[in-house]
């Protein structure tokens, strides 16, 4: 009531108020409508505001956290690479239970922390959507029970009838698997194991057996060699164990305390990666390999005072180069090395003789612990194919081989397969051979399987699954165990093998479980070989006789190979670093990897010397038909300075029809051109006819211009200049502007061009780490490949004796970046720790930054490359996308990207240090390119820390900055390449 008094002052007021009430009611009526309108608006507005721009995605957290797994924190597993038989140790990074990145295992005595490009790319082949999802019988998917039943029935019948059973496999370096195969041999008398390598080393194998009585190949030690002579052996790229050899080679390219560094001569027909790194590269015809070896033998023998007993060879080889090489070899005898890729046993024996005369056996040529790679024997393979033709083989198991594609007479092999009653393939897809087999029992990918490896005697490693098998596959060894009637548990088998064969010789007094756990954790185990003084190698009489007769033979070959007919040329076949023998053909990262020498992607080509091209009237891109009596091939030509004038080169591994959609139609198959001589497969031949086909096919190259145009981009020095301190580090260009204010760190890179071989492993590592998309051949043709790091290859010198210099080029993270000033929306900024940052979600894609970058390291997303049918690679299917690194954004269309100096790794490193309450130590953070490099040429670190490796490199004599005269102040520096030419 009291309240009422305040409202109703007097009756007059009441009257007025009533009037007001009337009006108020009217107001209320309208205001109700207004209210509803307003509410409607508010409702609509909040609904609109509440609308998210994208589709709602549900994330369901684990109810119970799995042990030892922290979401967002990677789990690492030590394993062994299965990309080839070199057995490099790996550390597999997994996130959310799936492998996303492969890194080298620094504990490995062979590969150190390095891997090659193919090794990096195998993480993608795990997620190949075209892998078989389960076993098949005659091409029809069946269950394991079904296929096992059929196979076991047929095997039992074969065993009962004492029919021939053969396991045809690639080189198996796994001692447990070899033990399993031995068990098969023991249990099944008519069973035998034939080893088939698509690229054969059978001649080296036979020669090694003949000379040193060992069953294996020598284990080469390039790190102990001061003089290296390679004769048609691409040991830095594809020959035998390139990661290990690169690591060893790079070590000796750094002048030691005495100022000694290695000198490398390379005699080869085609221009290989190794050849581009040599101090002296001598082009020879492929048929002259034996002549070169013989010439070197003759000179070394004279020095050693030994009779060679071989007549002079009338070869057209460069005697000056041979003399120089031989002189260097002799000067550093005991610390020199001659290697040859020849498939002529006699030539390989001659090379062994050279090494023996030089006293290299035991130092650079280790025969105490031979390499167990490349176990293939061409003669037993030829015999098998003959038996197959005759119908003498009842059962054939194909494990890690594809002879219907890469056997020289693939058609004959395929016909032979028809006569075999039971063919089983363990391939992961219906490839050329598997599609002809009765049963396909797909093997696990090596990242899904238990295995072990002994690529070099006494150097063991383990492989463990980093992910449970994605598909309904089964380890080949499990299949073999099952069909033998044993428990199909290869893991237990490996453990048992180690318990019975490896543990007993362990000198460290551990229990088996301790040994196993340590070995599994480390990934590697090496048997402690007692440091018994091995006596210096003394050549036996048999050895001497062998090489003397081999020398005769090689001399005879040289005489008999008369001067070739005027319009007949030689063909040389080689493996590329990316595709190798074709096993990686369906891997888009590797198809798009620019070849280290030619920078061409997505296909093979016919490499010609400039003089030959002129004679034929052929330019790069013109299609040439190359014919030999039994085969023909048509490929676009590529004119390569340095190519031997009478020899053309073609890469193997292309033209696969049954590898998958990535490989289909890419290049042409050169395997049918492989011939045979004296029972060994030969990768060169003569009598080749060349003809223009009258059309052209553009080559998808990433670098069209190879001349440095006189610009000081890749700088070199000579060993003598370096030692006499004539090489001066150029001081950084003076600037009018004040230095940018920074934080405690200033991240930088130093790249040693002297150890970088150009192998391009860093390119694939970066692609894997940073979710860099694959764009396909057409886009590469338009100049739009997306690699954040590229290896520029500059060629100079004469067209027959060119010199190649390589330079990894990525974002230079300039302190005075031209790109940062010009972005209108500030999408590229500079961090306080020296990184040039690209902010993807701010970028509107004007491309001014790309234009203004003098290094041209920026990459633009011209189309949507992920989840787009037009780019049907790994980012277009959910399985392929499992390889993506969750720490790195996948960029959308219209956005610029570039090297971020692996900022996700930098942040990880800083965070870890912060958690542990300590400053970031030098070496805590490694960029992906640094981590993978087998030659350890890329170093990342804090330039503000004078003790860091990178700062010391930057202060060194050889350090320089690219294009620093324009004032960009890059944080990435380079160390000059040192040339070690002989003064002669």
């Amino acid at each position: 009531m009291a309240n009422d008094l305040t409202f109703w002052k007097n009756r007059v007021h009441v009257e007025t108020s009533r009037e007001d009430l009337e009006t108020n009611r009217a107001d209320l009526e309208t205001s109700r409508r207004d209210f509803l309108t307003r509410m409607g608006f508010v409702l609509a507005a909040s609904a609109l505001a509440g609308c998210s721009r994208g589709a709602v995605q549900k994330a369901i957290p684990f109810l119970i956290k799995p042990e030892e797994t922290m979401p967002g924190v990677a789990t690492w597993y030590a394993s062994t690479c299965g990309a080839c038989s070199a057995g490099c140790g790996l550390l597999v990074k997994t996130r959310d239970g799936r492998p996303i990145k492969i890194e080298g295992n620094t504990e490995s005595p062979l590969s150190g922390g390095g891997t090659c490009a193919s090794g990096q790319a195998t993480v993608l082949s795990l997620y190949d959507a075209e892998r078989l999802k389960g076993p098949t019988w005659l091409g029809v998917p069946v269950t394991w029970q079904d296929v096992d039943a059929r196979i076991e029935e047929r095997l039992r019948a074969a065993m009962a009838g004492r029919h021939n059973l053969v396991l045809l496999s690639g080189t198996i370096v796994s001692p447990s698997t070899r033990a399993l195969i031995a068990e098969w041999k023991a249990r099944v008398p008519t069973f035998r194991h034939v080893v088939y390598d698509a690229v054969s080393f059978s001649a080296l194998r036979r020669a090694t057996g003949a000379c040193f009585a060992i069953d294996g190949l020598p284990h080469y030690r390039f790190d102990r060699a001061t003089t290296i002579v390679g004769i048609e052996a691409d040991f830095l790229g594809t020959w035998l164990s390139p990661v290990e050899f690169t690591r060893q080679y790079a070590r000796r390219r750094r002048p030691d305390a005495a100022g000694v560094m290695s000198r490398h001569y390379q005699f080869e027909a085609g221009v290989s990666l190794t050849g581009t790194n040599a101090d002296h590269r001598v082009p020879i015809a492929a048929s002259q390999q034996g002549a070169v070896a013989l010439a070197i033998l003759r000179r070394v023998a004279i020095e050693a005072g030994v009779e060679t007993g071989a007549a002079e060879v009338d070869g057209a080889i460069d005697e000056g180069a041979v003399a120089s090489a031989a002189e260097d070899l002799w000067r550093h005898r005991g610390a020199s090395l001659v290697v040859s890729g020849s498939q002529d046993t006699a030539t390989q024996i001659v090379v062994h003789a050279i090494n023996a005369l030089l006293g290299n056996i035991g130092t650079t040529v280790d025969i105490e612990s031979p390499s167990l790679q490349k176990q293939g024997d061409d003669r037993s393979l030829a015999q098998l194919v003959d038996e197959m033709q005759r119908g003498d083989i009842h059962g054939l198991m194909l494990y890690g081989v594809n002879p219907a594609y890469d056997f020289p007479d693939a058609a004959r092999f395929a016909r032979g397969m028809e006569s075999v009653a039971l063919t089983i393939s363990f391939a992961d897809r219906l490839d050329e051979t598997a599609s002809l087999a009765h049963a396909v029992c797909p093997d696990h990918h090596f990242l899904e399987a238990w295995n072990d490896a002994e690529a070099v005697t006494a150097s063991f490693s383990l492989a463990q699954p980093a992910i449970a098998p994605l598909l309904d596959t089964r380890a080949a060894q499990d299949s073999l165990l099952k069909w033998l009637g044993k428990e199909p548990d290869f893991y237990a088998y490996v453990r048992e093998f180690w318990r019975t064969h490896i543990h007993p010789t362990d000198a460290r007094g551990r229990t088996f479980d301790e040994l196993w756990d340590h070995a599994l954790h480390d990934g590697v185990y090496y048997r402690d070989v007692p440091a018994a003084k091995t006596p210096p190698f003394r050549p036996s009489r048999a050895f001497t006789a062998a090489w003397q007769s081999a020398a005769h033979e090689v001399a005879g070959q040289g005489r008999s190979s008369a001067a070739p007919a005027a319009d007949r040329y030689e063909l040389h076949l080689y493996e590329t670093v990316a595709i190798r023998d074709g096993r990686h053909a369906n891997n888009p990262w590797l198809q798009e990897l620019p070849d280290p020498v030619t920078k061409i992607t997505w296909g093979n080509y016919l490499v010609l010397a400039p003089s030959l091209a002129r004679r034929l009237g052929v330019e790069s891109g013109d299609v040439v038909r190359m014919g030999v009596p039994d085969a023909q091939i048509e490929l676009p030509a590529y004119v390569q300075p340095g190519q031997s004038p009478g020899t053309v080169s073609i890469a193997l591994g292309y033209g696969r029809q049954h590898a998958g959609k990535v490989a289909y139609g890419v290049g042409a198959n050169a395997f049918p051109l492989v011939t045979s001589f004296d029972g060994e497969r030969q990768y060169h031949r003569g009598g080749v006819v060349l003809q223009k086909a009258g059309r052209s096919e553009p080559l998808a190259t990433t670098q069209a211009h190879h001349s440095m145009e006189g610009r000081p981009i890749v700088r070199t020095t000579t060993l003598s200049a370096l030692l006499s301190e004539e090489t001066e580090a150029r001081p950084e260009a003076a600037s009018l502007w004040a230095d940018r204010e920074g934080g405690p760190h200033r991240w930088g890179l130093a790249i040693d061009l002297n150890s970088c071989t150009g192998c391009s492993a860093c390119v694939t590592a970066c692609q894997a780490e940073n979710n860099v998309p694959v764009v396909g051949r057409d886009e590469v043709l338009r100049g739009r490949e997306m690699h954040w790091i590229r290896i520029d290859a500059y060629t100079g010198g004469s067209e027959d004796h060119p010199e190649t210099l390589v330079q990894p080029m990525m974002c230079q993270h300039c302190q005075n970046a031209p790109c940062e000033t010009v972005c209108p929306v500030a999408a590229t900024t500079h961090s306080s720790d020296g990184l040039n940052q690209q902010v993807y979600n701010r970028c509107i894609g004007t491309r001014y930054c790309e234009n203004n970058c003098p290094y041209k390291v920026r990459r633009f997303n011209w189309f949507r490359y992920a989840q787009n049918e037009a780019f049907d690679f790994n980012m277009n299917n959910p399985v392929g996308r499992m390889v993506l690194n969750p720490d790195v954004t996948v960029r959308s269309r219209g956005v610029m990207e570039k090297c971020s100096m692996c900022i996700q790794r930098v942040q990880d490193g800083k965070l870890l240090a912060k958690q542990e309450g300590r400053p970031v130590a030098d070496g805590d953070i490694k960029t992906a390119c640094q981590q993978v490099c087998p030659a350890d040429s890329i170093v990342f670190g804090d330039l503000n820390d004078p003790e860091s490796r990178v700062a010391r490199m930057r202060a060194g004599q050889r350090h320089y900055l690219v294009l620093d005269e324009i004032g960009t102040k890059p944080n990435v520096g380079y160390l000059m390449k040192i040339k070690n030419r002989s003064e002669a």
Partner: protein, 467 residues
């Protein structure tokens, strides 16, 4: 024999009679006649020539719209750009169209301040050309972006992301301000200039929707002396505002290149060089348009040969400045000794795009020199041909500057070639389609000659508007 002091002075040669000063506007046209003739296209039915041209322009526009739609929907990848050449047709077209616009502003604004009476009959069309050219130009920065739907991020608006501002150091951003300012001022100036004419049209139109539109547009013009006085002040102020734009806008556009590090771009000669080039190409386009229009619309006595001749003289002057700039660039490259800069110019003249370079030299430097000859200056056919050549040459100049510097810059490993795709050509064709559609529509919808200015010049300004 000494000459006598009283020798008769030799008869002086008779002074030649002074050449009759041709009037700017031929014949003695009355105010009424001016109004009738200028209004005629607005009220008559279009002729076959106009219809055909309009159809062609609309077709070209349609091609452009389709090309742009495809590009925005699919990605910039449908163009021929790559990792080395980030700009080609897109920015060439942008600079080309902006440059063309400068002539209009020069004619309307600068010549107004300089009290050049000959500008009166051409200023309206020239200013219209500027507006349409700027519109065409503005399309390109929008569509060349990778994510054009976020183009508004170049505008510094207050936001809750920091606030996150734009990068004021970027020349592209200066372009945003410059182009927007240019467009705004040009539009205002153009519209303001049309107010008295809208009033005339209002007064001459019968009641109806047309009259309503004209009366709205005429902003209540009453033609009083006070209104005129204020109007002249306003026009003069706007002309004063627009004048520096002729210099500044293209200076800023040239900064897109000049402030970069690229050899061939990084040059202080760019601002005056580009401004001269802009006026040059603009006058070329004005000449092309006006020659066509005056012939087709029978307005020869308003746009006389004298007008064309004066414009040709401006073209000659600016073309010579451009030629001088080319020579300076080459001289500086040689004199400076910078290997990258030297190569950039050697590449221009003898590299894979040398044919573009020499077309440019022929069309921009050599051909306009013919304008020294009076007969050429006064021949409509010759002027028409030369104006087309100037435009082709100026398009190639921007193409040469952009593409030759980009495709071969510092590191030879990134050297590549650029080839346009059909989509880029379609977009260029579309821009011409847009321009001509707008211009053709303009000449039928708005008075293309500034009636009030012409009347002022022919001495009929004092006559009332009733006639």
């Amino acid at each position: 024999m000494t000459p006598s002091a009283l020798a008769p002075v030799s008869p002086q040669k008779p002074r030649p009679a002074p050449r009759p000063v041709q009037p700017w506007i031929a014949a003695d046209v009355s105010a009424r006649r001016i109004t009738d003739e200028v209004m005629h296209p607005l009220i008559s039915r279009p002729g076959a020539a106009w219809l055909a041209s309009f159809a062609l322009a609309v077709l070209a526009l349609a091609v452009g719209v389709a090309s742009v739609a495809y590009e925005v929907a699919t990605g910039v990848g449908v163009w021929g750009l790559n990792k080395t050449v980030g700009w080609a047709f897109d920015i060439t077209n942008f600079v080309f169209w902006i440059g063309i616009g400068h002539a209009g502003t020069l004619i309307s604004a600068i010549l107004l301040l300089l009290r050049q009476q000959w500008r009166t009959s051409i200023s309206r069309s020239a200013e219209a050309m500027t507006i349409f050219a700027v519109l065409c130009a503005a399309v390109f920065p929008l569509i060349h972006m990778g994510r054009p739907w976020l183009a508004f991020w170049v505008i510094p608006y207050p936001n809750s992301r920091g606030p996150l501002w734009v990068n004021f150091r970027s020349p592209l951003l200066w372009d945003v301000f410059a182009i927007n300012t240019y467009l705004t001022i040009s539009l205002v100036f153009w519209y303001l200039g049309m107010i008295p004419d809208f009033a005339t049209l209002r007064d001459r139109t019968a009641a109806g929707s047309r009259r309503l539109v004209y009366s709205l547009l005429s902003f209540g013009w009453n033609g009083s002396a006070r209104t005129w006085s204020r109007y002249e002040t306003a026009t003069t102020i706007l002309a004063g505002l627009a004048t520096p734009l002729v210099i500044s806008v293209h200076t800023i556009v040239s900064m897109d290149f000049a402030t970069s590090v690229l050899p061939g771009w990084h040059s202080t000669v760019f601002p005056p060089y580009f401004v001269a080039g802009a006026v040059f190409s603009g006058f070329g386009m004005v000449l092309t348009l006006l020659i066509i229009t005056r012939t087709v619309m029978h307005l020869e006595h308003y746009i006389s040969i004298r007008h064309l001749e004066v414009m040709a003289k401006v073209m000659l002057l600016t073309g010579s400045i451009v030629g001088l700039a080319y020579a300076l660039e080459f001289f500086n490259a040689w004199y400076g000794g910078n290997v990258y800069e030297r190569y950039a110019f050697v590449n221009r003249a003898s590299g894979p795009y040398a044919w573009c370079f020499w077309i440019m030299v022929l069309c921009n430097v050599l051909a306009p020199q013919l304008l020294w000859i009076r007969r050429v200056r006064r021949s409509v056919a010759a002027l028409f041909l030369l104006s087309i050549m100037v435009n082709i040459g100026m398009w190639f100049e921007r193409f040469v500057i952009i593409v030759t510097s980009l495709h071969r810059s510092y590191l030879p490993s990134s050297w590549t070639m650029y080839r346009p795709t059909i989509i880029e050509v379609g977009t260029l064709v579309g821009s011409f389609g847009l321009f001509f559609t707008c211009f053709l529509a303009f000449i039928r919808v708005l008075p293309m000659i500034a009636m009030w200015e012409v009347k002022a010049v022919t001495g009929h300004a004092s006559e009332t508007t009733h006639e």
